[in-house]
């Protein structure tokens, strides 16, 4: 039986007791998936998984607080679920986790880049073992999956759901790359270059808050301090400084909580590489607190606790 | 079979020949192979380290380097004084700066990768007591023994890292294992006067005298040591002490390896009882013959 069939049987077995099960279905065209909220077995027919099922569905969990739901998660998504549980934002008893062993997902951005022109509407997509055949306006183009894989998959060390009620597919032995080229290159730049870079990108930011809304950890929702008057942290002016301020708020609120699912960057309509900030902050958190969000249950986010003697924080000579 | 590099030390070639021979004999008997360090040299004892620490350490380091060239990481010596120097040198060389100073003086640099132990520690920690028990042919039943460790074999604890530094038990346990009655000796780690025997005999007379006195108090037939210098002060100088303190001690002072060898039934010639100044026969006579002991 295929992974999808196994998943469907698993969901069937629990659907009865659940408000709904969150999965994926085809979106406006065969290339794009969109979240699917399965309430009846009929809905199950539309369920899809695979490299196109990119969304981190954990993002929807807090919206169902108090109700018992199921969620289909890839390894990376499961980290978000775990972190939400560790922060008591979601209760384990309220969630049935259908964990996948994931072979990696695509980056729509890379696909767009790989295709001769912006595809617009895609007629059909054939997913092969390691290739992707995309047909646009009668023209078929075959892309190597490896070339269009999302960055996070290249460095992913948790392809299989860490916590789950059902673990579907066959487990991987991950061989993640030590680091991402783009990240290393950017970090190597001079302060001036980096500053100029953010000045430019933040000038581009339209503060649509898509990055925030897509983030599974941004649970403040309507009460985000970036869009409130009391407290009023950011002005309405669309200035690079104000946009950067908003991004800094997002980063600092994610410090020690971000699970690097990449949703923020994926959701950005103006292609701001937000993961540069996320990965860097996570690196700092790893170095100082030996902490990785969502890698294990019952962890305390490092900024919600302390040690009287901090091994890795040296008072600077003053 | 356990294999360790062996550093006899200078006294082992002279005043404590019997310690060296008996040590080799018992180790052989207990399947501990002692491999002599080729071209070993002075450990840098008193004369050197009172004058120049780096030089003294270099002398030790040279020997450690030799062991490294043998491709071994564990060395053993019967002499606590050598042990102290070898271990202290290694301890100091943990500081890279000091290590460089030392290696500057050596042809073959020392990596400081050797752990030196006393033969006693090797026997106590690496030889199964049951094995020893099994090999005992003449149990020491009937003899009362006071174990005297000397002042430096266990101290300073952070350098020597062996046994309790105020109340060591390794020898006590070993002797008890051989069937001897070990009396609680309060001055186990007291100073015997050491090398003051030459410049200030009176000091040695007082200090060693106190040890013999304590031995007598606890009713010991004999004192057992693990240190050539201690043994010499207590044994060779016992006559002087008697004269100086108007005493008449007659307490034989053995090396623990001699009694161990005796119990294991090793050939007397290798144990060298005849080298002792205070006649040990009376004490040895207290040992019940095996058939009676059974």
């Amino acid at each position: 039986m295929s992974q999808l069939d196994d998943l469907k049987t698993a969901i069937k077995s629990r659907l009865g007791e659940l408000e709904c099960v969150i999965g994926w279905e085809q979106g406006y065209d065969p290339l794009h998936a969109t979240p699917l909220f399965i309430r009846s077995e009929a809905d199950l027919d539309r369920l899809i998984i695979g490299p196109l099922a990119v969304h981190n569905l954990a993002t929807y969990l807090t919206g169902w607080k108090g109700k018992k739901v199921g969620v289909v998660v890839k390894g990376c998504d499961s980290r978000s679920v775990i972190e939400l549980m560790n922060e008591k934002l979601v209760s384990r008893d309220d969630v049935v986790i259908f964990g996948l062993c994931c072979d990696g997902v695509v980056s729509q951005r890379k696909i767009r880049a790989a295709l001769p022109a912006d595809p617009g509407f895609v007629e059909s997509v054939e997913i092969g073992a390691d290739s992707l055949k995309v047909t646009v306006a009668g023209q078929a183009a075959t892309l190597r999956l490896a070339d269009v894989q999302a960055d996070k998959c290249l460095v992913c060390d948790t392809p299989d759901a860490i916590v789950s009620d059902f673990l579907i597919g066959k487990a991987h032995t991950p061989a993640p790359a030590p680091s991402l080229k783009c990240q290393d290159e950017f970090e190597a730049k001079s302060d001036a270059e980096k500053f100029a870079f953010w000045q430019e990108t933040m000038g581009r930011c339209i503060r649509c808050y898509a990055c925030r809304n897509a983030c599974p950890m941004c649970v403040c929702r309507d009460y985000c301090i970036a869009t409130s008057r009391d407290p009023l942290w950011v002005s309405q002016e669309n200035l690079p400084s104000e946009n950067m301020m908003f991004q800094m708020i997002h980063v600092s609120h994610l410090a020690g909580r971000c699970t690097e699912c990449g949703e923020c960057e994926r959701a950005c309509p103006v292609d701001i590489p937000l993961m540069l900030l996320r990965r860097y902050m996570n690196k700092q958190v790893r170095d100082v607190f030996k902490h990785e969000a969502g890698k294990a249950l019952d962890q305390t986010p490092p900024l919600l606790t302390f040690k009287v003697e901090e091994e890795r924080i040296n008072e600077r000579g003053w | 079979m356990l294999k360790v590099a062996y550093y006899p030390g200078c006294s082992g070639q002279g005043t404590s020949l019997e310690y060296d021979t008996s040590t080799r004999a018992v180790c052989k008997a207990l399947d501990v192979e002692l491999v002599d360090i080729p071209d070993w040299s002075c450990c840098g004892s008193s004369p050197a380290h009172t004058v120049n620490h780096v030089l003294s350490a270099a002398l030790s380091a040279r020997n450690l380097a030799q062991v490294e060239t043998m491709g071994m990481t564990k060395a053993a010596t019967p002499c606590p004084s050598c042990l102290t120097n070898l271990r202290t040198a290694a301890h100091k060389m943990d500081d890279p700066e000091f290590k460089d100073k030392v290696n500057a003086l050596l042809d073959v640099p020392c990596r400081n990768a050797v752990d030196t132990q006393s033969v006693l520690q090797v026997l106590a920690e690496n030889v199964d007591p049951e094995l020893i028990k099994g090999k005992v042919v003449k149990p020491l039943t009937g003899i009362k023994i006071a174990c005297y460790y000397g002042c430096i074999m266990n101290r300073p604890p952070e350098v020597m890292r062996f046994d309790h530094h105020e109340n060591p038990m390794a020898m006590d346990n070993l002797m008890a294992l051989l069937g001897a009655e070990v009396v609680p000796f309060p001055l186990k780690v007291e100073c015997c006067g050491a090398s003051y025997g030459i410049p200030r005999g009176d000091i040695v007379h007082r200090l060693s005298g106190k040890l013999l006195d304590a031995g007598r108090d606890v009713g010991a037939d004999a004192i057992v040591t693990a240190c050539p210098l201690c043994q010499m002060n207590l044994d060779l100088r016992q006559g002087q002490i008697n004269d100086a303190l108007r005493e008449n001690f007659r307490i034989p002072v053995f090396y623990y390896t001699q009694l161990l060898g005796y119990a294991l039934g090793i050939d007397r010639a290798e144990l060298g009882f005849e080298k002792l100044c205070v006649d040990p026969r009376l004490a040895l006579g207290r040992i019940k013959q095996p058939q009676q002991a059974m």
């Binding site: 001036a192 000045q199 301020m245 980063v251 900030l277 009287v308 901090e310 008072e315 003053w318 | -």
Partner: protein, 167 residues
């Protein structure tokens, strides 16, 4: 270093009320002369200092931000500076990726009795900031003296768009 001889730069200080603010007072009582660039904001505890205050100041064009609290273990509220230490360390380590020179932000511990130490900290930090020079601004350049306007605006005069920042 006498900051007096050059144009003042904008340095914001966040000090906890119980130790460091007292330390600054002690320095004053002892007449320990310091550069005048620093402006001190008083908060009850270093645990009250949101790293985002510092970011806000930097985004507003502060040239340097200095935070000081009670020495670890001496917090008036027992644990405030322990939390502060983690939060501030994270911010300081994060700044480089943004291209903002992390030397523009420093945090340290000064007790109410350490007037001299406070003088040293202020003098050293001010010197450092002057060596770094004025901080670049995120916002585009302009030939108009917007700063003057902004100052006036923040004083509640003209430029309605700035009313909002003052909330």
């Amino acid at each position: 270093m006498p900051a007096q001889d050059v144009r003042e730069l904008r340095i914001v200080g966040f000090l906890c009320n119980w130790c460091s603010y007292g330390g600054a007072d002690t320095a004053g009582v002892g007449r320990f002369t310091q550069p005048t660039d620093l402006r001190i904001i008083r908060v009850p505890c270093s645990g009250r200092i949101d790293p985002l205050f510092i970011v806000r100041a930097l985004m507003n064009g502060a040239d340097g931000v200095l935070v000081s609290g009670c020495h670890p273990r001496d917090c008036h509220y027992a644990e405030g500076n322990f939390y502060a230490r983690r939060r501030l360390e994270m911010l300081k380590r994060f700044l480089p990726i943004t291209g903002i020179d992390e030397r523009r932000f420093e945090y340290t511990w000064v007790s109410a009795s350490e007037g001299q130490r406070w003088q040293h900290v202020v003098t050293e930090f001010t010197r450092r900031i002057h060596e770094l020079g004025p901080a670049p601004s995120f916002n585009p350049k302009s030939d108009v003296d917007w700063n003057a306007l902004a100052v006036k605006a923040s004083q509640g005069q003209g430029c309605p768009c700035h009313g909002s920042i003052q909330a």
